[in-house]
């Protein structure tokens, strides 16, 4: 057992090159076939479920999901190929054990080191890809030209203040298209989480603190705002709409709301 222990399972140079062995060939074939299938199905199912994006942030989230899925698919396919080849190999049914395997491989330095190096590289790839997007999202917070919106959560509704047009307050959010927005989020009671689903942004609303997130809506339409943090009895119903409209419609709405507020 000690002599054979060092022998690599992918390396038996005296007899045949390792890649010519039947089970290795089978694995490689499965790997090549499974990788695109897993990548395609994984990406399609996820990206389709996510619906159409209403901001660049959401588009980049969808892109990230696809990139990660494709990057992970060779790994998943390799594990699946190895497992399937083993399963298709020598099966034994019954109450007594099969005879022992015809080898006693305990290690393979080459396999292990390749595995670790590849998984480290993939890990770095995921990290760097994510960091690039993260950096871009964070910079959006500093945009001086952005519209400011104060979003306040309370059990169980949202309200929105428009400090750039003092006095306006609404239960449905109104935003002009293609204009950067910075949200200043807080809560008056318990923790809530401000989520504009189709724009891919989310930030907790904490009592006593103000948190910030930013987005540029790039599509005219009506989208969903939901609370994403359990906040008590009617958490499920704590949702409202965001109306993304043209700049002209937005200005008209602001003016109209300001007069209404004044009248009240």
């Amino acid at each position: 057992m000690h002599k054979g222990a060092r022998m690599s399972d992918l390396q038996t140079p005296q007899k045949a090159q390792w890649w010519k062995k039947a089970d290795v060939k089978k694995t490689l074939l499965l790997w090549v076939v499974l990788t695109p299938i897993i990548g395609f199905v994984g990406t399609e199912v996820q990206v389709r479920s996510m619906g159409a994006p209403a901001s660049e942030v959401m588009a980049s989230v969808k892109h990230l999901m696809a990139v990660f899925t494709w990057a992970a698919s060779p790994v998943a396919a390799l594990v699946a190929a190895l497992a399937l080849t083993s399963l298709l190999n020598k099966r034994h049914y019954g109450d007594t054990p099969p005879p022992d395997a015809d080898h006693e491989i305990r290690n393979s330095a080459r396999t292990a080191s390749t595995w670790i190096v590849v998984s480290t590289l993939l890990c770095l790839f995921a990290l760097i890809t994510g960091m690039i997007v993260f950096q871009k999202d964070s910079e959006a917070l500093l945009d001086a030209k952005a519209i400011n919106i104060n979003a306040t959560g309370q059990q169980w509704l949202w309200s929105f203040d428009y400090p750039d047009s003092a006095g306006v307050r609404s239960a449905d959010l109104y935003l002009p298209v293609d204009k950067p927005v910075v949200f200043h989020i807080t809560s008056v009671d318990v923790k809530h989480s401000f989520w504009i689903v189709q724009m891919g942004i989310k930030m907790d609303a904490n009592p006593g603190y103000i948190t910030e997130t930013a987005v540029t809506p790039n599509k005219i339409g009506v989208f969903d705002i939901r609370c994403a943090e359990l906040c008590g009895l009617l958490h499920a119903y704590m949702q409202t709409k965001v109306h993304v409209v043209s700049q002209a419609d937005y200005d008209a709405w602001l003016k109209n709301s300001a007069t209404l507020e004044g009248a009240a």
Partner: protein, 626 residues
């Protein structure tokens, strides 16, 4: 007659052979004394505690009274079960005699020893097994209530208050069940035999750790009927300080459970370090032992933090302190930090022993040595080390520390490297093995499948921009069910099938366990694939109703959940019927090489007549080509 005359007057009429107090304590006296103490303290407090003004924001008086009653329950229960016998004797200067110690070990007591403060590790293992099954039954029933309510968008036959309470109860009950499901039954029953020891290092602490869990269960049940845990199992503040009296049950439960985990952790760690058989070097120690030790060693730093977080939560409720109340200078973020400093190591507390158990079974059912033992140890150690540095990935979007998101993203994604090592160990062991088609073997395949999905979705969640979309959605719920249930519970059920013959002396019914395996695995994947999809489409977690656009995915999940339920009931039936009248098991039905298979069925009181000497590891399967 003279014996009766010598007895104190307070015990009249008892017969001559009256048993000493230490032999009369059992689960009945424990429940009696616990209930009586709780009721007495409750009534006294009601009578004597001053009223608080009705305008008080928090229910201070009621909270104080209920927390006091829960403490009284705990003290009464532990006294009633006999946890204090040893310390009291020691304080009086009289240690337990040999015959008393034999009594405590459960010698010649038949079924009764399972209802006493018994120190034998095998009794504790069986106690844990039955308790785990009961807790899973409760948690599973709650899961079915949740899924039934979510079967239709306007389902709503459960009141939102009750629904939130069920979600919280399901969460905490399942977390506890999964924490104890491997280290409890198999860590206690099998582990000492596997390392060639006669018992655990601290047998009385072993009994203590189990009975603490029993003491913790009634508070969590009572809490359901006094307002419930309407906060989810995370019990975030300030929502928790707003919640009704049921939260106090949660606080008491967590504190007692945390003590139990710490006690068990100290015990198991010491046992493995000090009591391995002669010749069992670290290189010859089975990988399952590493998994169990890693799990409890992670729990050792994690659970004191959990304990502390709940003490502070209790103080906020009962005395209106401001640890978590921002109006008084505290912060909900403090709670989140404390909670997740426990919460992320905790998922590996659950996972590591389950994966290690499957790694232990892999060579047995492939008849070849474990591939990459050192890699497995390295992977487990790597996960342990990294898992205490990742907690704030649960708080990316909390706004607590945006500048720390990048470093936490780094540590979180690094965990994929040691996790990948464990994958390599498993597929490497399957590779060119002779597969013995049994439920434990197929569980390895199931784990690879489920944990791959759980792991890859974990990478999306570890990424800050993607998490900003996915956080708090059903996607997260599906992800952690894939890891904790798809990987963890699969490993635990495989362990049950594998070690059932040694623990009960009978084989687990093969047909029933196969039926259960396929129903659970297929139902599981159907259920949680559907949940991934509604999560991606934007359904938040912990909601009792949802938009019509999510109805198809939710219906799929509910159908899957019912399939799981039937599969689990089949397994339960198999366990009960096999335990009662299954086929008698031989000493070593799987022809495995670890030490627990070298002792007879049923395992004798001190396991080994002569302690074994180990000369090689337990993976010497396969033969070299000549």
């Amino acid at each position: 007659m003279t014996t009766i005359m010598n007895r104190p007057a307070s015990a009249p009429g008892s017969a001559a052979g009256r048993k000493p107090l230490i032999e009369r304590l059992n689960i009945v006296t424990a429940f009696l004394l616990g209930t009586v103490s709780a009721v007495v303290v409750w009534q006294l407090a009601l009578k004597f505690m001053p009223e608080t003004p009705e305008t008080s924001l928090f229910f201070n008086r009621e909270d104080k009274i209920s927390l006091l009653s829960l403490i009284a329950w705990f003290v009464g229960f532990m006294t009633g079960i006999g946890a204090l016998n040893g310390p009291i004797r020691w304080a009086m200067g009289k240690d337990l005699s040999h015959s008393e110690n034999m009594f405590l070990a459960g010698k010649d007591q038949g079924i009764k020893r399972y209802f006493r403060y018994t120190t034998d590790h095998k009794v504790v293992g069986i106690q844990y097994l039955v308790t785990t099954i009961i807790i899973f039954f409760v948690g599973g029933t709650l899961a079915m209530l949740i899924r039934t309510n979510l079967g239709h968008p306007s389902g709503g036959w459960i009141h939102p208050q009750a629904y939130n309470a069920i979600v919280g109860w399901h969460g905490i009950v399942m977390i506890v069940a999964t924490i104890i499901m491997v280290t409890g039954p198999f860590g206690n029953f099998i582990m000492p035999i596997m390392i060639g020891a006669r018992d655990m290092a601290f047998p009385r602490l072993n009994a203590l750790s189990f009975w603490l869990i029993v003491a913790a269960i009634p508070p969590i049940f009572i809490s359901f009927f006094t307002g419930g845990i309407t906060t989810g199992w995370t019990a975030y503040n300030p929502l928790a300080s707003q919640a009704g009296l049921g939260m106090n049950g949660y606080i008491a439960f967590i504190c007692i459970f945390a003590i139990s985990t710490m006690v068990a952790g100290a015990n198991i760690t010491t046992t493995v370090i000090k009591m391995r058989a002669k010749g069992m070097t670290w290189n010859r120690t089975p990988i399952f032992i590493y998994g169990v030790v890693a799990s409890v060693a992670l729990a050792l730093p994690a659970f004191p933090v959990f304990f502390l977080s709940q003490i502070m939560s209790g103080l906020d409720r009962a005395f209106a302190t401001s640890f978590y109340n921002s109006a008084g200078g505290g912060s909900g973020w403090l709670y989140e930090n404390l909670f997740w400093i426990m919460g992320h190591p905790e998922v590996y507390v659950i996972l590591l022993p389950a994966i290690a158990a499957l790694m232990e079974m892999a060579p047995v059912f492939t008849r070849r040595p474990l591939f990459g033992f050192n890699l497995a140890v390295l992977g487990i150690a790597g996960i342990c080390g990294l898992s205490i540095l990742v907690w704030a990935h649960h708080m990316y979007i909390s706004g607590w520390a945006p500048l720390l998101n990048a470093p936490f993203m780094l540590t979180t994604e690094l965990i994929s490297i040691p996790t990948g090592m464990l994958f390599l160990v498993l597929v490497g062991t399957l590779w060119r093995g002779r597969l013995w088609m049994t439920v434990p073997l197929m569980s390895i395949f199931a784990l690879l499948w489920n944990f791959m999905i759980g792991g890859i979705t974990g990478i999306y969640l570890s990424d800050v921009p993607a998490d900003a979309f996915l956080h708090g959605s059903m996607y997260v719920t599906a992800h952690f069910h894939y890891t904790l249930m798809g990987a963890g519970l699969t490993g635990a059920i495989a362990s049950l099938v594998y070690w059932f013959p040694k623990m009960t002396g009978r084989m687990l019914d093969k047909k029933l366990s196969w039926i259960s395996f396929w129903m659970v695995q297929i139902g599981f994947n159907v259920a949680f694939m559907g949940m991934f999809m509604v999560g991606l489409a934007g359904q938040p977690r912990r909601v009792e109703s949802y938009a019509a656009m999510f109805s198809r995915g939710n219906l799929i999940t509910t159908i899957g959940a019912y399939t799981i339920m039937i599969g689990m009931l089949v397994l339960l039936h198999g366990v009960i019927s096999s335990w009662r009248s299954g086929q008698k098991a031989p000493m070593n039905p799987w022809h495995a090489k670890t030490l627990e298979w070298t002792v007879a069925n049923p395992v004798p009181l001190e396991n080994f007549d002569v302690l074994p000497v180990v000369t090689s590891d337990a993976y010497g399967y396969g033969k070299a080509k000549s």
